[in-house]
Symmetry: C2
Subunit: 471 residues, 2 copies
């Protein structure tokens, strides 16, 4: 039986969680070799999950030879004591996914596939004025190296703002990077080595997988839900079985799921990892784009051991092209400060000056308030359009921040075929297979709502028609 990418209802336990729980009971001897397992109906009642979820969970444990089915009798723990195992995958994206990734930002396509924000929602005119004025006011600083950790003025502004995310950082805790991707790669390069295993959400942002492949890392995909992100049950189970060197998470408005991890889960996640001395690489690049009145805290807010490396940037809110991001690496500060100059000496000075000025005198909060309203509306309207036009049975994430949507279509819709046919008609879309090192999410797509307009609405309608044609 082919495992489903996500629980249909998106509520209750995922089948992977049920499998992890039952596997844990077997591991700890609650059920011993030869014991009969609870009936499917009984377990479905006990765990408040659907019959089909239990069937999939048992089917996975059977695949792993942890339990075995006896005809007309039920499931039994296997004779030999087998440890149910979550197996890390060495990332090996074929040419296909790599080529697809390159096309996502193809400017000739309707931009549903890109992860970048609509430039019309960026304060380009104001930023440009500040870029020019700052370079004129500080000519020597503008053409010279900024210092390898970045402009002190900018680091001070970032540190002050981090209070909103629940993190009392000082300027010296921050290293400026060339965008959030660089921050994450610095975090991975200072915590992991080739051959190590990293836990990621499933689905995972494809750049994480791509960089893991480059570094020769293995990934362990931990199932995640659009409502609350990565399953801590499965993560805990995975940690007991595997030497996990780091975990990557986008706790606030995940890419691609859009999930917002509740605060207590963030705390539990940080504690779980701290218990095992596992660093958490947190990408918080969407955190400033919450639709609600307040910005959610970062997982870093619950970090008592310096094990969280908080990564972010202004690429989603001000200007991706400025390449200004940052990392607060906790106890890995020294290593990050050593690696950053080796990679490219420092981040560009003029864009750092402009962003620092925007944060100081540009009305960043005012801008955020305006753009959050815009994205809330755009996400809502695109979500409605997808539900209206996509094949019957499609579920769509309901993010409370950011501008990315995740559509989970009926199993028979091959998202790669959808990508291909849409592209021939000039429409870009990110197929779900990009977001897994395994073979998952073949029936899912990520959609960018930040370009929402009448013509994008027509493209979504067309995309839906193509998907219905495939279904």
């Amino acid at each position: 039986m082919r495992p489903r990418a996500l629980g249909t209802a998106g509520r209750g336990l995922l089948y992977e969680e049920v499998a992890a729980k039952m596997g844990g009971l077997i591991e700890r001897g609650t059920f011993r070799p030869g014991d009969r397992m609870p009936s499917i109906r009984g377990l479905s009642r006990q765990m408040r999950v659907s019959i089909s979820t239990v069937v999939e969970a048992y089917s996975r444990l059977e695949d792993q030879r942890v339990i075995e089915a006896r005809p007309q009798s039920g499931y039994y723990v296997s004779g030999r004591p087998v440890r149910p195992k979550l197996v890390p995958t060495r990332v090996n994206l074929g040419e296909g996914p790599l080529l697809v990734m390159r096309t996502l930002s193809d400017a000739s396509l309707v931009p549903l596939g890109t992860g970048a924000p609509n430039p019309q929602n960026l304060p380009a005119a104001k930023l440009t004025r500040m870029l020019a004025a700052q370079a004129r006011r500080h000519p020597a600083e503008s053409v010279s190296y900024s210092g390898t950790t970045g402009l002190s003025r900018l680091r001070t502004q970032i540190a002050r703002r981090s209070l909103d995310a629940g993190c009392p950082l000082s300027a010296d805790d921050v290293v400026v990077t060339s965008g959030c991707v660089e921050a994450v790669t610095l975090a991975l390069q200072t915590t992991c080595r080739a051959g190590d295993t990293v836990a990621v959400a499933a689905p995972a942002y494809y750049n994480f997988l791509n960089f893991a492949q480059w570094m020769g890392l293995k990934v362990l995909e931990i199932p995640a839900r659009p409502e609350e992100g990565m399953s801590l049950d499965v993560l805990g189970y995975a940690i007991r079985q595997n030497p996990i060197r780091a975990c990557i998470v986008i706790a606030n408005f995940d890419n691609p799921l859009g999930s917002l991890m509740p605060d207590e889960r963030k705390r539990d996640l940080v504690r779980l990892l701290a218990k095992h001395e596992i660093p958490l690489v947190e990408d918080d690049v969407y955190g400033d784009l919450a639709f609600g009145p307040a910005r959610p805290p970062a997982a870093k807010a619950f970090d008592e051991n310096g094990l969280v490396l908080l990564c972010s940037s202004f690429s989603k809110t001000l200007a991706p092209g400025y390449r200004v991001g940052w990392i607060a690496p906790g106890r890995f500060q020294e290593k990050v400060e050593r690696l950053k100059p080796l990679l490219n000496v420092a981040t560009a000075s003029p864009t750092q000056l402009a962003v620092a000025e925007f944060l100081t005198n540009g009305g960043y909060d005012h801008h955020l308030r305006a753009v959050r309203r815009v994205y809330a509306r755009q996400v809502d309207e695109m979500r409605d359009a997808v539900l209206r036009h996509f094949p019957c049975g499609t579920s769509v994430s309901r993010p409370r921040g950011g501008f990315l949507l995740w559509a989970d279509m009926p199993a028979e819709v091959d998202a790669f075929r959808l990508y291909d046919e849409a592209r021939q008609r000039g429409i870009g879309v990110a197929p779900g297979t990009l977001f897994s090192a395994g073979n998952g999410f073949r029936n899912c797509v990520r959609l960018n709502a930040s370009f929402w307009s009448a013509s994008i609405a027509r493209a979504v309608e067309e995309l839906g028609a193509i998907a219905r044609g495939i279904a």
Copy 2:
């Protein structure tokens, strides 16, 4: 006997070359076990080198147990056939060198130690106008990603200019990077893996050593001369003995030696490496700063096999703080294009727009002509000052481009002590030990002539007095 860093006269063969030549003859059986070696006096005449050079060469071969001294008789090939061996070093810079590197750009010190150009010799005002005008003219382009390989307009300008360096590149051969350091790290990461051996000049630019350490590379230091750079004799000998994965060279106005490799040596270097399928990572960041009327060709000009990865930037001529560099990776193009976006998506857009405009309409050639004259004079005057004030017996490089000087002081002057005492008096200087993974160049310093002025002249005088005090 402690080996000298450089031949005193800077002419004729180095002792390492004499050792390599004689070792080669033993290896090939011209001299067999038990044979008497040529006398010191005889070999000195034959090879037109000093007595002391032969003594040092024989001393090295003796250390390697290739030959042995018999009292009152001379040197004999050792009884057991030993292959003289050049041994790669795993780079392991201690805390000391790493801390020193960080102080080199300390703005509170007189800037003799930094590798950056004097901002007064950069066209800051004009660049700033172009930065502002381009961002205003292309607001969406300025805030958006430039495309992972860089702005097409900039790549076209770089390709056109590469003709001056003897390289007929097209825009598609070029990938824009965040400075030349990033270009070199891309080149090393796409040609080497942990454990591989890389050939570098001795002395070597410390960032090469530093990055090699980070990657877990071993380095084989090939002696180089201020006149013509890396010894091809020793390189050839090293290649026969070791699996060398890549070679790094600054053929035009080396950092720190200032050497300019003659064109025929560039050709020979490229051919030698091509014969063994070894990629050459060429850093040409000083190439535009030739004092003569014409710019020397890059080694890449002699590349017939796509094995040369040409790296450069505008950090020495326009603005280090803009972080705009590039790489023409030859047959490694595909790998570089794949790695660059993984590291930081793309290089910042506004600075790319500004540099493209400066190259198109900014009078880059006019600027280069002016600044070359300035550096030629500054290098000359600082050189005179060093010869006047430094301890008797100091030799100084005579670069024909760039703005870096290399002073080789008498053996008893400990450059690290000089660095330390100078720093206490507010003067920065780069001690020679930074430029070796071994223990070389303890009596050398690198000096930056681009800030030359009356107060810098006084600092050089003071530095000389400190050095004389140590001597």
